[in-house]
């Protein structure tokens, strides 16, 4: 009996080892371990054995053989599954450089990128973002900024005038704003101090386009009006901006200058780690006349303002050597950034 069990077991194991795929393993499972299998069939012969011990020994041998067959089936199944998976993975091999890259994302304009970066930085310093119209009145663009009729500084702005005259208004009093400073006036008139704003925006000059000038360009302007604001606050804000925007190894300085709308006025320069200077923009303490034009009492409040070009920041950052390229709307340019 034991011999027969041994033979049936070996036959089953040999058959399992030869199974070629997972489906064959499933069919073989019923045939080799089911009620009609050779090993199960041997159980019927147990009754013919005489001694209890023999019956017991033979029964145990059959069960052990069945267990061995089941294990062999499981192992074979796992083996075949692993081989099939390996085979599939091998067949799915791809050359990952074998494709043509097609751009799918859109590209924000360089000016927008610089603009938003500057906005975020000043938001971090506690500023809000103010905006204003690009077509302005003479009053907001000049008069309220301490440049009355005939002021010589007006000539430096190369203003573009419009044929729009408001009802009952003067012809020639509507213009394309030459700087973002009118937003200062609008902000002061619309609210009360404390004021902490930056005003990014588009500005216009009667200037022939060349590598470093565009008749249409972008500026960002800052205005702070609060109690106890001094020139040290201005210098500190410029310094904080410098370090945040350019890096902690950069520093800044204020240099006396003249603007009609600030006094004392300054230009601010940024010093690179190599010691060289970049002239960046203008700033100063808001002139008392300008505060008054904004409806603010200069004896109670004081403030500072600063401004500089956005386009130039983008130009320098990305090494664009001609500003006109930035506004060509050439997709081959836009896709680079």
């Amino acid at each position: 009996m034991i011999n027969e069990i041994e033979a049936a077991r070996n036959a089953a194991l040999a058959e399992i080892a030869a199974l070629g795929d997972v489906e064959a393993v499933s069919t073989a499972t019923a045939r080799l371990t089911g009620k009609k299998s050779a090993l199960s069939g041997l159980k019927k012969g147990l009754g013919a054995l005489e001694s209890i011990d023999d019956k017991k020994a033979a029964g145990q041998a059959i069960n052990a053989a069945l267990a061995a067959v089941n294990t062999a089936l499981d192992d074979r199944r796992a083996e075949l599954n692993a081989a099939a998976l390996a085979d599939r993975v091998e067949h799915e091999r791809l050359d990952l450089t074998e494709f043509v890259a097609a751009p799918t994302r859109g590209h924000a304009h360089l000016v927008t990128q610089a603009w938003e970066r500057l906005e975020d930085l000043f938001i971090g310093l506690g500023f809000q973002i103010a905006e204003g119209p690009e077509v302005e009145t003479d009053w907001h663009n000049f008069e309220a900024l301490n440049m009355g009729e005939g002021h010589p500084a007006r000539g430096e702005f190369d203003t573009l005038f419009l044929d729009y005259a408001p009802p009952g208004g003067q012809p020639g009093s509507t213009l394309l704003r030459t700087h973002t400073s009118p937003v200062q006036i609008r902000t002061m008139l619309a609210g009360k101090p404390p004021i902490y704003i930056v005003a990014p925006g588009r500005v216009f000059r009667r200037d022939t386009a060349d590598a470093t000038h565009m008749p249409v360009f972008h500026q960002i302007e800052g205005l702070v009006v609060d109690r106890h604001i001094t020139m040290a606050d201005l210098a500190g804000t410029i310094e904080a901006f410098t370090k945040a925007f350019f890096g902690s190894e950069f520093t800044s300085r204020l240099r006396p200058y003249h603007f009609p709308f600030t006094e004392p006025s300054a230009e601010f320069d940024i010093q690179r780690p190599d010691g060289s200077w970049i002239e960046l923009g203008g700033c100063g303490m808001v002139h008392p006349d300008v505060l008054r034009a904004g409806g603010i009492d200069p004896e109670e409040w004081s403030g500072f303002a600063f401004g500089f070009g956005i386009d130039r920041m983008a130009k320098e950052r990305h090494g664009v050597d001609d500003l006109r390229e930035m506004f060509s709307n050439d997709i081959r340019f836009l896709e680079q950034f």
Partner: protein, 788 residues
């Protein structure tokens, strides 16, 4: 203004011009004072080893026609032979000889090597070879009395000097003169300021050139001084050298002194030959319209009644007031008596003439910015002192005329300055007693005691009038760098507004859809909008640079269409671009009806692509609008476009550009377009989307197809399905639109997939059948046939 440091040192010991560290110190101090240094040039460098030598004899070599043999004596008694390619010297001339071993500025070292086997013991030099100018036509001859063997630089009086190019800021006209710069610089460097103090000239007999101020508002002060004993001759070398360094050609002693006084004291002036001056005096009046005058530069110009003429006593124009003299007013070699004009002109008036006539001069630059209205007496005395150096018999006559009008600014101007105001603006803690030390050295005289002081404002600082102007002077001389740096503690919460945040979101959505951002020029040619099919009035620029950029856009479309055409012409079809920018339709308010538009153009795409962009954008921004195909915006494709309606208002348009517009812009592809008025679109704050629970029970799909007439919108079919299907409908997809043989003409089959799901149970076949029946009821009522 070019400032020669050696000249500036006349007014204070500012620094050794030959010492780079001293020059840098001066430049840094100027910068910190707001006197901007544009550049610094080292001048007066000489080449070591080049000495004066006399030409002993000249010989021609038979085999060398283009050079000659020159024998020179360099003072050591030896006769040296050099080859030379120039022929402009004669025996006895003194020439610069570069001796053997000399390193020339161009890098060449002088060697013995000659030609034809004959050595050359040096080289004779041209002006350009010595860095003295551009002249390389011949050897640079030295003065005939030059001792032999001395360095040529000594012979020419060359010394190392620094030429500092100072940029003059609008409010600092005083820095257009050496004395003004020196006055500002002296306290900053802690040196003593030494202004010129010319002696009062001895009074000669009375002789006047009378002055009549007809238009005194334009010329509030005019002085005329008669000076005789003038001998017109070349200036002294030192003066000629300084003027040359300042970029002015020395002409004669009288003209040179005139220029020198202008550069030194910032007082432009003009000397007339009294004997040639018609009527022997001056008449100052506005020109008549169309009156002409040939100016000093040789051009005949026409003037207007807003230009000021200096006329002679016979009313013949001899100069443009504050700008330029007339050609015929020049003094001549035979002049012996001059009438010296020193005047003060209205800065705005000079500026107008300069702009209108496009005529600029050293004088007009100064008058435009503001000359000291009380600086004439010093300048006249200085003129006489300097001219007397070459005219020993000079007489300044009594009877000088000083004509003034009420338009002359007052001589004494004061302002009160509160020390509290100074400290409040600057953040300093200065005491009132600190003010004199900061202000007196620069001519702001502080008087009084207590916390408020009276400050007399100097007449050469026309920009200074009030307290805040004095605060700026205090800041400059206290030092901007010493004011400290402090970050103000903003009490405001830094943030973007809802509008600004959603505008950024709109950009992000579009970028994510593969659309890039363009920034076309907002200025258009007068007919561009018309070519784009956009009606309506436009605003024009009254002083455009070019006609092609003279009109303000009222739509972003033209700029974007041009961008597509540009890219197509560079073989980039299919570009997708958007712009967020202002447009400027006229209105009837104080300002035009300017608003911010967002426009998307998709080249090579059809209208549904634009609708898809709109859907994404609207969903992201939490906004909605009705697509109304019954109204089509001008310039768009009439059967493939719609307006976006919110209530009765159109806030935008979507569809395709009209074919004739595409043709007008040379665009080859179809262009799908979406444009919205961003200001109105974002006017209402977005409502946050509210959560709808997703069901845990299985869903069932029901496919239904309808035969729909072409004129019948799919939107209505969709609406009917939603109405009929009720709550169980969780997703509705149009998965096919079929036109062809299997449906009647002018109809199409629209096939929808309805995904049905209940929140609380499994669906039964009965549920699905009910939905189908109910949808059919609604669509049948609409007259839409369900295909079986």
């Amino acid at each position: 203004m070019d400032v020669l440091l050696s000249w500036l040192n006349d007014y204070g010991d500012f620094g050794d011009p030959a010492d780079p560290a001293a020059v840098a110190r001066v430049c840094d101090a100027l910068t910190s004072l707001g006197v901007e240094v544009a550049s610094v040039d080292v001048v007066g460098q000489t080449v070591d080893g080049v000495v004066a030598a006399r030409v002993l004899r000249l010989e021609q070599h038979p085999d060398a026609a283009k050079v000659q043999r020159v024998y020179v004596d360099a003072g050591d008694g030896a006769e040296r032979h050099v080859w030379c390619g120039a022929f402009n010297m004669a025996v006895g001339d003194i020439v610069p000889l570069a001796t053997l071993g000399t390193e020339m500025p161009n890098g060449m070292t002088i060697e013995r090597r000659g030609i034809l086997g004959i050595d050359s013991e040096g080289m004779l030099c041209s002006a350009s070879e010595l860095g003295l100018g551009d002249d390389h036509s011949g050897i640079h001859l030295l003065p005939s009395d030059t001792p032999l063997g001395v360095p040529y630089g000594d012979a020419l009086g060359l010394t190392l000097d620094a030429l500092i190019d100072v940029e003059v800021i609008r409010n600092r006209p005083d820095t257009l003169g050496y004395v003004g710069i020196a006055r500002d610089l002296a306290p900053a460097l802690g040196v003593e300021f030494r202004p010129p103090i010319p002696p009062t000239p001895p009074a000669g007999e009375s002789l006047s050139a009378p002055v009549e101020l007809v238009d005194g508002d334009r010329c509030p002060r005019f002085t005329s001084t008669v000076i005789s004993g003038v001998v017109v001759a070349p200036s002294a070398d030192w003066m000629a050298r300084r003027l040359l360094a300042a970029g002015m050609r020395p002409i004669s002693n009288v003209v040179d002194v005139s220029n020198y006084v202008m550069l030194e004291l910032n007082q432009p002036n003009h000397a007339y030959d009294l004997d040639a001056l018609g009527g022997g005096g001056f008449r100052v009046r506005l020109a008549a319209d169309g009156e002409t005058l040939t100016t000093l530069d040789g051009e005949q110009r026409t003037f207007t009644h807003d230009d000021l003429f200096i006329c002679d006593g016979d009313d013949v124009p001899i100069g443009v007031g504050g700008v330029m003299g007339g050609l015929d007013s020049e003094i001549s070699e035979s002049t012996t008596t001059v009438a010296l004009e020193m005047a003060w002109f209205d800065p705005y008036g000079v500026a107008r003439t300069v702009t209108r006539a496009n005529l600029r001069s050293e004088a007009s630059t100064r008058f435009e910015r503001g000359v000291d209205p009380y600086g004439m007496p010093l300048a006249i005395a200085r003129f006489a002192e300097l001219l007397a150096e070459t005219c020993p018999d000079l007489v300044v006559h009594d009877g000088a005329v000083d004509a003034r009008t009420e338009h002359l600014p007052p001589e004494q101007r004061h302002t009160e300055v509160r020390i509290s105001a100074v400290n409040r603006v600057l953040g300093t803690s200065l005491a009132a007693d600190d003010l004199p030390g900061l202000l007196d050295p620069i001519g702001y005289t502080v008087t009084g005691s207590g916390d408020t002081r009276t400050v007399a404002l100097p007449s050469w600082r026309p920009d200074s009038s009030g307290e805040i102007d004095v605060v700026e002077e205090v800041a400059r001389h206290y030092g901007y760098a010493n004011l400290g740096k402090r970050v103000p503690q903003s009490v405001v919460h830094g943030s973007l507004t809802d509008h600004q945040q959603r505008r950024r979101l709109a950009r992000q959505v579009l970028l994510g859809l593969g659309i890039s951002e363009a920034m076309p020029n907002p200025f258009l040619a007068p007919d561009t909008q018309q070519r784009a099919g956009i009606p309506g009035e436009v605003i024009s620029i009254t002083n455009p640079l070019v006609a092609e950029e003279s009109v303000l856009r009222t739509s972003l479309r033209p700029g974007l269409l041009k961008a597509i055409a540009f890219n197509e012409s560079h073989r980039r079809a299919g570009v997708a671009l958007f712009e967020v920018g202002h447009v400027y339709p006229p209105g009837d308010g104080e300002l035009p009806d300017e608003f911010e538009s967002l426009t998307v153009v998709l080249a090579g795409r059809e209208a549904p692509a634009a609708i898809a962009v709109w859907r994404e954008l609207a969903a992201a921004l939490g906004v909605g609008a009705r697509i109304d195909q019954s109204r089509v915006a001008a310039g768009l494709h009439s059967t493939r476009s719609a307006t976006l309606q919110v209530g009765k208002d159109a806030i935008g348009a979507v569809g395709e550009i009209a074919p004739e517009v595409l043709a007008a812009f040379d665009v080859e592809e179809r262009v799908a377009i979406l444009e919205v008025d961003l200001d109105r679109l974002l006017a209402r704050p977005a409502k946050p989307s509210q959560w709808k629970p997703t069901s845990r029970y299985p869903s069932s799909d029901l496919d239904l197809a309808f035969v729909v007439g072409d004129e019948f919108s799919a939107e209505r079919v969709e609406k009917a399905i939603r109405q009929g299907a009720g709550k169980l409908l969780v997703e509705l997809t149009l998965f096919d639109a079929y036109r062809g043989d299997r449906v009647p003409p002018q109809t199409r089959s629209l096939a929808y997939r309805l995904r049905l799901q209940a929140a609380d149970r499994n669906l039964t076949d009965g549920d699905v059948a009910d939905v189908r029946r109910s949808v059919e009821t609604v669509t049948t009522k609409l007259g839409v046939e369900l295909r079986s």
